[in-house]
């Protein structure tokens, strides 16, 4: 097991290296550049040249990449051409927001999706099964940003149950130490702040959770149906085990494996969705940061942000692979 994890972790390095190179080249292939985006279309060639010299953008690409790589390895992701802030610092500020949002969404999707799919399979072809199938199809047909706007309109503007934007009431005195606001509120032992933070989290998390929820429910249903057909389930029933025990130990435990895979595969989708959800709810995370960086050709921010996304996807997939061993003892790693 340990050698397997070590080998997989070692593979992360070349993947990140290749990604960094691809992102680096891609960002520089974009039409226009930070000079024009920042100084405007009518900037004089002299002003642009001066800007590029100051930023080191006039050097050959391989030299730029070389120093970029050296800096990254020492934890320096460069400076945003727009905000003049170090990218690493801003990333540390923003990534907790994205992680908090996506974790909340995964939690909702799994806690609702898995039981829903399981019950649907148990009542195969019954009304609940049919309803969950149609419901999940409707779920995956909603663009996440439209769902976000819809939730915002109904529950924030019309009913006024939830705040419309942001992560917390900025007039509150919450100490945002870790910037994981739920954690911050818990650390401070501040009940009112916790309630405020959770209220801000509900709508974006629900919007982001809908599509993964629909997919997870469908996969759970399909996996459970497969397992229900297995001989060992019939055997367990035949030897007189109670239905609830068969369901829990034989059916559910075995149906969980594909579900875990799918939860892992959803990470990419969730991060994508986070880009849109963060935009709708003015959520100061990595997603909305990247969207802004595109229009400003903010190279350092784009490189840092995208690299962060890829790192998350790679690490989550690693976690998923490792979790197989715990969920299914039949799988052995070499």
């Amino acid at each position: 097991m340990l050698p397997y994890i070590a080998r997989r972790l070692a593979l992360v390095v070349p993947v990140l290296f290749v990604t960094s190179l691809v992102v680096f080249l891609f960002v520089r292939a974009l039409p226009g550049g930070p000079a024009i985006a920042l100084l405007g279309e009518r900037a004089t060639p002299e002003a642009i040249a001066a800007f590029e010299r100051a930023q080191g953008l006039d050097r050959p690409l391989y030299a730029q990449y070389g120093s970029y790589l050296r800096n990254v390895l020492s934890g320096d992701l460069g400076v945003s051409t727009r905000s003049r802030q170090p990218v690493a610092e801003e990333l540390l500020q923003r990534f907790p927001a994205t992680v908090e949002l996506t974790l909340a969404a995964i939690l909702i999707a799994v806690l609702v999706g898995v039981p829903l799919g399981f019950v649907a399979a148990k009542r195969y072809q019954g009304p609940l099964d049919q309803a969950s199938l149609v419901g999940s199809l409707i779920g995956i047909s909603f663009p996440v940003f439209f769902l976000g706007l819809l939730l915002k309109y109904v529950f924030a503007i019309r009913l006024d149950w939830f705040p419309t934007t942001g992560r917390y009431d900025i007039t509150s005195s919450l100490d945002t130490r870790t910037n994981f606001l739920v954690l911050d509120a818990l650390l401070a032992g501040d009940g009112a702040a916790l309630a405020d933070v959770l209220l801000h989290l509900v709508l974006p998390a629900v919007a982001l959770a809908t599509i993964p929820l629909a997919i997870i429910a469908r996969i759970t249903r399909a996996a459970t149906l497969d397992v229900l057909d297995e001989d060992y389930v019939r055997t367990a029933r035949a030897k007189g085990l109670r239905g609830a025990i068969v369901d829990r130990r034989h059916v559910f435990a075995n149906a969980l494996l594909p579900v875990v895979t799918v939860v892992g595969l959803q990470t990419g989708l969730l991060l994508t969705g986070a880009v849109l959800t963060e935009t709708v709810f003015s959520w100061n995370g990595v997603g909305s940061w990247i969207v802004e960086a595109i229009s400003y050709r903010d190279y350092a921010v784009l490189q840092g942000g995208i690299l962060f996304f890829v790192l998350v996807v790679v690490l989550v997939n690693l976690l998923v692979d490792i979790s197989y061993a715990f969920l299914n003892p039949r799988i052995r790693f070499r």
Binding site: L137, S141, V313
Partner: protein, 298 residues
């Protein structure tokens, strides 16, 4: 006779019929798939006959400029936008764009993906490894971010957006088809074909591909649904088709996202147009998947 028995006898009679034929029969018995087909059909009709259905032109100002655009009324079913254009007419014309984008994007992804997948699966060896590893690399990047990247590279035109969204789907098609081709390659009829000297390319084109195409059709349908959502999403973050006169649903939504308070109809109607069309396509795709599944003969 119970329904199950009736179905059993029916299936027994249909036994020698091809899978595509049984699929059609199964599809017609699936109410959800029929509902989906009706929805898609209505949108197609809307797209084709847009000038006949829409009471006004998509860019015709009938109400003048208004900071608070009037909502739905008897005269203007879906209300007017801030430039006094009839929202219903714009949505009807918008169906053309969305369907076109979905269709072309799938065409791009499907043709390239089929080519690469068939090549990898049929030749095997190094080509296979090379093609599939590069596909895996692309798959590691979240698809929407990749589409964002390609559009920023290619520039913001309708064609560029369609190509970007299509390119993103290539790895999925390639993987699916490679798998099917690999499975078919070792089957008895291919061996028999080889034994009697059928040329390799002909085996691939007229025997293996037709047998591997079922799942590809399903994926193509479902991809079309995703493509339509992705165009709207690109427009939403300002990277959609640049021409402001185009009645693109996602763009209509994006432009009015800040008007939820006083003109929510400008968000609701284009949004539900996307949802309804995508749902229709998904229903058809889902029905197709069930109908084409040979394991579901029960």
């Amino acid at each position: 006779m119970s329904i199950a028995q009736a179905e059993a006898t029916e299936l027994a009679i249909e036994r020698p019929v091809s899978l595509s034929r049984t699929a059609l029969v199964r599809l017609r018995r699936n109410p959800a798939a029929i509902a989906g087909a009706v929805i898609v059909g209505l949108f197609l009709l809307m797209a084709v006959a847009a000038p006949l259905i829409a009471p006004y032109g998509p860019n015709e100002s009938v109400g003048g400029l208004a900071s608070t655009p009037p909502g739905p009324s008897a005269q203007f079913w879906f209300g007017l936008d801030e430039q006094g254009r009839d929202l219903f007419s714009r949505i009807v014309f918008g169906a053309r764009l969305s369907l076109l984008v979905g269709f072309v994007a799938v065409l791009v992804g499907l043709s390239l993906g089929l080519l690469l997948g068939a090549l990898a699966g049929w030749t095997g060896g190094r080509t296979d490894a090379l093609v599939m590893r590069s596909m895996d690399l692309v798959l590691a990047i979240p698809p929407f971010l990749l589409a964002v990247g390609i559009v920023t590279l290619l520039g913001p035109g309708v064609l560029q957006v369609m190509v970007a969204i299509g390119l993103v789907t290539v790895p999925q098609f390639a993987r699916l088809l490679r798998g099917s081709v690999l499975a078919q390659k070792e089957s008895d009829y291919v061996l028999a074909g080889r034994a009697i000297g059928v040329p390799s390319w002909r085996l691939l084109l007229s025997h293996v591909l037709p047998n591997a195409i079922g799942p590809v059709i399903v994926l193509a349908t479902l991809t079309m649904a995703t493509a339509i959502i992705e165009v709207a999403a690109l427009s939403f973050i300002g990277l959609g088709p640049a021409d402001p006169s185009l009645p693109e649903w996602g763009r209509m939504l994006a432009e009015n996202a800040s008007r939820l308070q006083n003109a929510v109809h400008l968000v609701l109607f284009p949004g539900f147009a996307v949802v309804l069309l995508v749902l229709g396509i998904n229903l058809v795709g889902d029905g197709l998947r069930e109908a084409l599944d040979p394991k579901l003969g029960r």
